[in-house]
Every structure is written in C-alpha cells, then in structure tokens.
C-alpha cells in the first residue's frame, strides 16, 4: 500500500523491487510498505501502515542504533547497516538497512525511507560452509523436545557431563552444540571426536596427543583433541565405538581430570566439559561387557533422550519448512513448500533414517522440482504412493476425507481474502498460528492467493 502522493509509476517500481522498502513520517509511523517488505517481515501492508516501525520490525537496532533515528538526527544517509529483525512468526531475519530523509520541495521534513535487504540466504550459506549451527536450528515442537528445552539452560550451565541418546540422524550433534553454546564455555573451543571414524590404533594419539619420539613418525609434539578443547567442550559422537583400552583412559579424564600424552612422563590436567552421544543402548553394551559400567555412569550424569522422528510426527511440518528455507538459500531457488499430497506422505512415513532422511527427501525434491511446490512426482521412488506401507497409527489420519475438506476450506477462504492471513484466520475462527500450521501441513501458500 502506498501514500497518496505516490504516483502509479512509483508504486509499480516499489512493488517490483526485491528489497523491502517502507517510509515513515516524523513520528516513526509507517506510511508505505512495499511487497518485498511484506514478504520479508510476514506482515501485510495494511497491517503495518500506521504502526510505529519498531512494532513491526522488533529489530536489535531499535533501542540503540536505529538507522532512521541517525538519519533524522544527522540528515545523512545510512548505508548497509547490519541488523536482525523478527518476522511475524518470531523468526530472526538478518538484514542490511539503508535510510534517507524525505523532504518536501521547500525542505520541510516529511519523514524517512528505509530499504532493507534480506540476508537470510547469505547467512544460511555461511553457516553451511562454516558448519555453524546453533540451538535455533533445533526444530522441535513436540512434547519430548519441549521437555529437553525446559532443562537445557540448566544442563548447559551445570558443567556436568551429558549423555545424549537417540537414533542416527535425530539431531544429537545439534543438541551437543546447543549445550556448548548456552554454557559458560561458549567462547572456548568446541571439539568433535567421532569415535566411529577413528581407527582404534590412532585413537589414543588423536585424543591425548603425543610427545616427540613417542613412536617412529612422531617428529614433534602434537596436542590431542582434549588439549585442543581445553577450557571448552569436547563432544564424543558414537561413544559406544570407543575402543576398550581407551575407555579406561577416558574414565580417568572424567574422574581425575588427568591424562598423559603418548610418550609423556608428566601428567596433564584437563579442563574440558564432556558431552557424549550414542545411537546404541549403552546399558545393553554394559550388560554384554562391551562398555565399561563405571565409564557409563560417569558419562550419564545427565541423560537426554531424543525420540525418533516417527514418534514426534508433529515436528515434520516444521522440519519440512526449515529444510525448504535452507535449500532455497543453498540452491538459489524459491520453492514455497510441498503439496498436500506430499505432506500427507511425509506424515505417514516412518523414517528409519530420522531427520536426516527427511532432509534427504526434501533435497531430492529440490533437485527435480522446477515449480513452486514439491509434488509427489518429485519424491524418491520408495516414497511413491504405491510403495508406502502406512504405519497402523497413522492410517486414519492420512485417509481422512475431513483433512481434504479442511484444506479446501482454507484455500477457499484464502482466495476470498486475497491471501490475507489475518482475515482468513478470523473468517475460519482459528488463530493465525493455527492457520499457518495447517497451511504448512497441507502445503498451501498464501502467495498463491495474492493478486498482482
């Protein structure tokens, strides 16, 4: 929507440009809000107009460092100031902001204009490259995850050793990283040791390091992973694969906080926090004599269990949306979502490979999809409808004609309201969040109902 003094020509330009553009009057109230601004913030122009800009953007610079304030105070433009805003669903969006004052021909101050560029894709790529994920990447709305979230800050703060249990691909490493990032050690190193990939013969030298001359090729001292993680956190993935002879040495690290590099005569102190993860039942391995019980009890001071994806199906729509955003950034595509049929298939499938398998399914869809929605034909063969063996728990949900009727009703109301989420939710008598959740579930995009 545009102020009255904007010509159709200017309106067309503002509508077509990819950056968000809005104007404010002298009281910081929004007077125009272009289509890209709607897309980036999740607010419709009519919802934003008349509001103070801080009520729409909720940015980290609103309190200290407001670009518009700087422009008002100095009369000078601000160019590409980095900021983080919150969109209408509470997701952080990195942006770069530029501002300038607006004046009448006689010099009277009218307000200011701000343009902002969505840097989500860039940040996503940077995180992919640097493998820097945070607890914000843990997608879990299910009860099991809410229980973990409830104690996560206390667990992180405690400095206790943590054992994370869960099947492969369920996000154990993300949780370990979250514990580190929320702890007092967050500015110190975070070192990952994948016990399943290190040869048993190299384990001790990798873990504890060695002194020059400790063995034939030891030309100089080499610090081990524990020394590298000093004052930080060391994460043992697949701890069940730890060789028996190393188990006793790790036990000593946990008990005495001491170890000796290979060939060293002096004992070293270790100031590291240990987080371990396993996809196998350590108690069973203990019972079989394959894992030391004393080490198990030292590791399992705090136990966190991540259930498999098939036991928290409610997280699937959120995960699908998360992966679509991620792959849009990674592959420079603009896919809006999945069709209702695809969502139904994804909700029914049992995911032996857990979240990682769902991620792979979406990535496969991205390879084949040329349109806006991932359709059934874009799914891997084993997910094509004839091959799916529905789990007994979910047959009723998947086959329900009520679900189709609900999806149709949502589409009808969105069509009638031109894709306006607020009005559609009101019309349907449900909250905006519920509407959004149902739209995600059925693969419905509001953009498809918004006219030019």
């Amino acid at each position: 929507m545009a102020p009255q003094n904007e010509t159709p020509f200017v309106q067309t330009i503002l509508r077509c440009i990819a950056d968000g553009v809005f104007t404010v009057d002298r009281d910081w109230r929004i007077t125009s809000f272009n289509r890209a601004a709607e897309r980036i913030t999740g607010w419709a122009a009519e919802e934003a107009l008349g509001k103070k800009c801080s009520d729409i953007f909720h940015a980290d610079i609103c309190e200290h460092g407001c670009a518009i304030r700087k422009t008002f105070e100095t009369g000078r433009e601000v160019i590409d100031q980095p900021a983080r805003i919150l969109d209408s669903r509470g997701r952080a969006v990195p942006v770069s902001v530029s501002t300038a004052v607006l004046r009448e021909e006689d010099g009277t101050l009218l307000g200011a204009v701000e343009t902002f560029r969505d840097l989500s894709a860039l940040e996503q790529l940077r995180r992919e490259i640097q493998n820097r994920y945070t607890f914000e990447d843990i997608i879990g709305k299910s009860e099991a995850f809410q229980k973990i979230f409830a104690i996560l800050p206390d667990v992180a703060e405690s400095d206790s050793t943590v054992l994370i249990e869960g099947p492969s691909g369920s996000g154990k490493e993300l949780l370990a990283k979250a514990i580190h990032n929320l702890s007092r050690r967050r500015k110190q190193p975070y070192v990952v040791v994948n016990c399943g990939t290190l040869p048993a013969t190299l384990f001790e030298s990798e873990l504890f390091g060695y002194k020059r001359g400790a063995f034939t090729d030891a030309k100089k001292d080499k610090p081990g992973r524990i020394a590298t993680a000093e004052r930080g956190t060391i994460f043992f993935d697949e701890i069940s694969e730890l060789p028996p002879e190393t188990q006793v040495k790790l036990l000593r690290v946990l008990q005495e906080r001491e170890y000796e590099p290979l060939g060293a005569v002096q004992t070293r102190r270790a100031n590291v926090r240990v987080v371990a993860a396993t996809n196998k039942s350590l108690t069973e391995l203990v019972a079989k004599g394959l894992f030391r019980d004393d080490l198990y009890f030292r590791l399992a001071v705090v136990r966190l269990s991540i259930p498999p994806l098939c036991e928290r199906r409610g997280d699937i729509p959120y995960l699908v949306e998360h992966f679509i955003r991620r792959f849009n950034a990674k592959r420079n595509k603009t896919i809006d979502g999945v069709t209702p049929d695809v969502m139904e298939i994804l909700m029914r499938y049992d995911y032996p490979g857990n979240v990682r398998e769902l991620e792979n399914v979406i990535e496969y869809g991205f390879v084949l999809c040329r349109g806006k929605l991932i359709d059934v034909r874009h799914l891997p063969d084993h997910l094509q409808p004839t091959d799916i063996v529905p789990s007994s728990k979910t047959v009723q949900r998947a086959a329900s004609p009520l679900r189709r009727a609900e999806a149709d009703a949502i589409r009808d109301v969105l069509a009638a309201t031109n894709g306006h989420l607020g009005r559609a939710a009101q019309e349907l008598g449900i909250s905006r969040t519920t509407l959004w959740r149902k739209m995600t579930k059925y693969g419905i995009s509001a953009n498809d109902f918004r006219g030019e």
Partner: protein, 124 residues
C-alpha cells in the same frame, strides 16, 4: 508473583532478546509492592533465562520474542504475554485487572496506546 517487562524508558522494549533493561515487578494481593530494574549487557539467551529463573519470574510481558526463545521460556513454565507494545504502567494495570492475558496464536499488532493487543497478548 513476579512480572518481568523488558523496558525502554516508559514503554515495553521492541524485543525481549535485545532489550537493555529488564524491569521486574513483585505483585502481592493484586498490587505492585516492589520494582527492580536489571541492566542487561549480554544478549545470550541463557543469561536472560538465568536472570528470570533466579528472580523467580512467573510472567513476562514483552514485545517481540524469537520463537525458539519463547519455546525455552514456556517450557520452563513461564507465562508469556508477548508481542505487546505501549506504556508499561497501562499494561501492568490491564494485567493486574485480568484484562491482559496470553492468547494462543500470533495476532496482529495494534497501535500504541490503543488496545495493546498484539499477537500473543490479548486484552479481554
């Protein structure tokens, strides 16, 4: 009961995570009996959660809040009345009279000083 409000002067700060001051009010028998302002230098979520935990806060009235942070707080049993704006005294008055309650689902923002109802916060 304790109520926390991230503040910017006399109004609710635009964002819980980025606010520089947290005002914590102690309420007894429906009246405010104490108020403490805590300056917040760190933007780490854990530091804010630690403060809210240590101060035994029951309810937060705030502006914007990131979804993951909101999940963390709700999972700890803290009631959130989020996405509200406006004058803190007015909001507290509404809250103490049971006219500002947490609502399900994010609604729409409203202008300052009108209804204070935003996405999560709801004026009865």
């Amino acid at each position: 009961m304790k109520v926390a409000i991230p503040r910017l002067g006399e109004v609710v700060a635009p964002c819980l995570e980025y606010s520089a001051t947290m005002a914590i009010f102690t309420v007894e028998n429906g009246k405010i009996v104490d108020q403490l302002d805590f300056p917040l230098r760190s933007r780490e979520p854990l530091d804010r959660i630690r403060l809210l935990r240590d101060q035994q806060v029951d309810t937060i009235i705030c502006g914007g809040v990131q979804d993951v942070f909101e999940d963390l707080l709700r999972a700890r049993g803290i009631q959130l009345i989020s996405w509200v704006s406006g004058n803190i005294e007015n909001l507290l008055d509404l809250f103490l009279h049971g006219r500002l309650v947490a609502s399900d689902g994010r609604g729409q923002p409203t202008p300052d000083g009108r209804s204070h109802q935003k996405r999560r916060g709801k004026q009865k």
